[in-house]
Symmetry: C2
Subunit: 568 residues, 2 copies
């Protein structure tokens, strides 16, 4: 039996990710690789965050009677206005979020943080906020990397953050239907721990898994590292309970396969806190897999590897697709070889002899019954070999899995060492994938390499669909004096390239503040009107997460979508 239960970690430190003591510091070899590659004079720890006591946070602008009423709703213990709690809720985990907080800026912190214990308490909090014209930001794990939980007050007098930490229970398991209902504030590891006695798993492991909550998964249409096998959060969720300023809304049929009108659950999924607070959700669960099988393959190029993944998806038997299916480009493969810390010398020499001096590495993990896993791996090997792949055995997959939640810790260390690092992602149809990869990569490099600075971009595919695949870019450069401007410049360049390529502005990071300006290109002006209309029904005062998802009412950027066309 595979163990899907993962470590529960304390909630993140105010300036970065998780529990810093769990980070694995970079070795001297890796540091030297970084310094040389990014042409930096130093990668010493010269850029630590300020002391918590030096962080600037604005005054609480709420009237005393508002706080009195909030305390009456949730109990006095569950309303916080102290600086530390407010700083901990001053934003999410994007690189600009961290740059801002590390420099001591938490001026946008919410006026108060409320920790409700029930849906009824959430409802009462919303009613009070409607009455007193206060903005409401829902906070699950606080792991948004697109500004999704920034406590913007918009046109309101104050902003309350509703932290869902106390609503973390398993409510109900229907073993026959294979569904489980949880309160929305439950975090990834606790979901798996609660399902373990039933022998079930949700199978949802985004990199943010240890911090993120079920409500966040649903609110952002999240995808996990094994979503090629288990499905994205939007595939997993069957129904959700939403508390809105207009009342309680149960979205999603209790029955399977209904045709009773539009699927309104898909209005709630991806709504990013702009319609109401998701207080509970029912999700599909499956038995914990009996076993895992690992495979890895080296391809002569990223394009060749992507074509191999497409063939596996299209030509493989129904059980062939691995649950985890990743392909690194040659740059990411090279840095993995250099920084990964495994005994890769022999492997690299072997690939060199086989003619792959700059390989692109694919990692697979099959989860399930041993016989089915073996069959899937065996059949897929045929397709991989036919596509020019060289088998590299199980170790690279196991090694990746071992470190799969540790990426964000590395970012904290890099920032301390004066290295700018950020990620962004998209997805495109197979026909547009190579073009999207090339143009987004070039846009990132061009915008980082101004004034002779060096930069490094590495890319992977982590999700494979019938019609296309995701692309995830990680990029590094020296941290400029104005890191926020540096970040905004890269992000704008990359986003423009994504839109021009006909790809989606986000595959799994969601919209938040950062991608809202591109929603016009994504869903059209009328689509934005539809979104705004739905919001107007459920949140007529506009208090829910203002400034997120729905762009300000300006003309949306125009784009042209290339298409691949053919005749028989």
């Amino acid at each position: 039996m595979v163990i899907h239960v993962t470590d529960e970690v304390p909630r993140s430190v105010w300036y970065g990710w998780g529990d810093p003591s769990r980070g694995k510091p970079l070795g001297s070899h890796a540091l030297e690789f970084l310094r040389r590659t990014l042409k930096l004079g130093s990668v010493a720890q010269n850029h630590p965050p300020v002391e918590l006591s030096d962080v600037r946070v604005g005054p609480v602008t709420l009237a005393d009677d508002v706080l009195t009423q909030l305390r009456a709703i949730t109990g006095a213990d569950h309303v916080a206005t102290d600086a530390t709690t407010r700083i901990l809720h001053a934003g999410g985990k994007s690189t600009p979020d961290l740059i801002r907080r590390r420099s001591g800026d938490a001026l946008d912190a919410p006026d108060a943080v409320v920790f409700p214990g029930t849906a009824e308490e959430v409802r009462a909090v919303l009613a009070l906020c409607v009455q007193r014209k206060l903005a409401v930001v829902t906070f699950g794990g606080g792991t948004s990397v697109v500004g999704g939980v920034e406590p913007l007050r918009g046109r309101f007098a104050g902003v309350i953050t509703v932290d869902m930490a106390r609503m973390d229970k398993l409510l109900h398991v229907d073993s026959l239907a294979r569904t489980a209902t949880f309160e929305a504030g439950i975090r990834g590891p606790a979901i798996e721990a609660a399902l373990a006695p039933y022998g079930m798993t949700l199978g949802h492991f985004p990199q943010s898994h240890q911090e993120a909550t079920l409500g966040g998964y649903v609110a952002t249409r999240s995808a996990g590292q094994a979503s090629t096998g288990y499905g994205r959060s939007n595939d997993l969720v069957k129904s959700a309970h939403l508390e809105t300023p207009a009342g309680a809304f149960d979205a999603g049929s209790p029955a399977p396969g209904t045709a009773a009108g539009p699927k309104l659950l898909d209005v709630v999924v991806g709504s990013e806190g702009t319609l109401g607070v998701i207080t509970s959700a029912t999700v599909k669960v499956v038995p914990v897999p009996a076993q895992k099988v690992y495979g890895s393959w080296a391809f002569p190029s990223f394009e060749a590897g992507a074509e191999a993944l497409r063939r596996l998806k299209h030509d493989g038997a129904r059980g062939d697709m691995p649950h985890v299916c990743r392909l690194s480009d040659t740059d990411e493969t090279a840095s993995t070889f250099k920084l990964g810390g495994w005994k890769t010398g022999a492997l690299a020499r072997y690939l060199g002899i086989r003619g792959q001096k700059t390989p692109a590495m694919a990692l697979f993990v099959w989860e399930g019954d041993a016989r089915e896993n073996r069959a899937g791996k065996r059949r897929s090997a045929k397709i991989m070999r036919a596509a020019g792949g060289i088998s590299m055995g199980p170790l690279p997959g196991k090694s990746w899995e071992h470190g799969r939640f540790s990426g964000p810790y590395l970012r904290d260390e890099l920032l301390t060492r004066g290295v700018y690092v950020e990620t962004l992602e998209t997805a495109a149809t197979w026909g547009l994938l190579a073009g999207t990869y090339a143009s987004v990569r070039a846009a990132i490099l061009d915008s980082l390499q101004i004034n002779g600075a060096a930069a490094y971009v590495q890319t992977h595919i982590s999700h494979v669909y019938s019609d296309g695949a995701s692309l995830y870019f990680t990029f590094l450069s020296g941290l400029e004096a104005d890191g926020l401007a540096q970040n905004a410049r890269v992000k704008a360049a990359a986003s423009g390239a994504i839109v021009a390529a006909g790809a989606t502005i986000t595959h799994h990071h969601a919209v938040g503040i950062d991608h809202a300006p591109y929603m016009g290109a994504e869903i059209g002006a009328l689509g934005i009107k539809v979104l705004a209309g739905i919001k107007n029904t459920l949140d007529p005062e506009g208090i829910m997460n203002p400034g997120k998802l729905i762009p300000p009412t300006t003309a949306p950027p125009v784009t042209t979508s290339p298409t691949t066309k053919e005749t028989p």
Copy 2:
């Protein structure tokens, strides 16, 4: 290579289904079974439809300049106001629709029928209808059995039916992404014929397949007979172009796996013509299967068969689930044996010897690669046997497939013979399935058997999900003098039982007029407000298919949803 291309048939006759010459009349043995079972004095052809020339149709209430403008938009040849065309668009194919038209009542016929050739023409027609306050009904195959295409004029001066017949082209195939884009008026057989040169299939075969259109599939979240394998229309559609009174709306991302906010495509899918006219859609396609494999199993009871299907779905390997997966209850199995016309005597005797005097029969069809089909069938056989099934070989599945589009013809003959017949459907989670089956069946029987009348109900599962299954009820009785009242009585009783059981009001027939009163129980009062708000954004004047999907603004019926709960 399996042939998925099906016969193209002329559009339906005005009083019933398809091309009546293709119906297979009931034999004397079957007629006698019916007469005896329903305790009827006669099943002679005493109830033919009136002559077309005797059908009553109201006057055209449109101003001449409206017709002039419509003709200017589409060309004069593509605007019809003649009685025959109007009668052909006077409603759909529910039993009450047919009873009404067969009796000579087409008073609700639209004032005019417009046949646009392009999305731009649709847009211009809608603009004119907004300006002149005319209701608009979109008509694809006209196969709705829930009143979805009734030309209700609501509070408007007139009603225009937009018939999509001319918009029937394949626009685009993306072989790499395995998607195809069609105009929405293309009918089922033409979809398959257009895909055949590419070696691809949509795999969507509802019983209405030969008449229904792609736009209708999308507008109603339809399910086909092989949807357990290929997926429902909502799984197949990737994007749709909608012309609305507020403008053109492209719903659905061109990219796979986006997280850019709520999936607005799911607002269009299932919107049943109430938001606008779907003019084209992009759908997932797959290679035509190399081969089909058939299986059938007899179970001692419907419950035992349903449990076997659940185990197959939950415990089978990923490739085990057949594309077609049906289970008849003992009544449907008995009538199939009696009416089906195969050599079933020996089979029934064999099952009797094996202890199954009243079996419930399951039919399976696997489609795909020969080796994969064989493996799926072999592995599933283990699960079927363990669940008490007795194999009956491939013939029952082949026989079902041969007649799978002929059911609606039979209804026309039955009505002519004075036999009332109708169908309705639902879906429930596994834990609620037996209770739903029992209570809906009892409600149908009780409401038909008043005044000592006899009735027959037969039921099947045709779609299997991880969390539950569909239930499809077919019921017969003598046609009462007021067949419309008879139908309304049964439908109300069954719908009440469905709501009380915690099942969905419709699994694949959609909402239309008939199920609109139950939408409050299905999606809640706030859900209806959300739907109405979306409609208000796209169709502020409310001209699109008035009276459908969204119930009149009265308090929705209240219901209690039973749940199955357990602890480890």
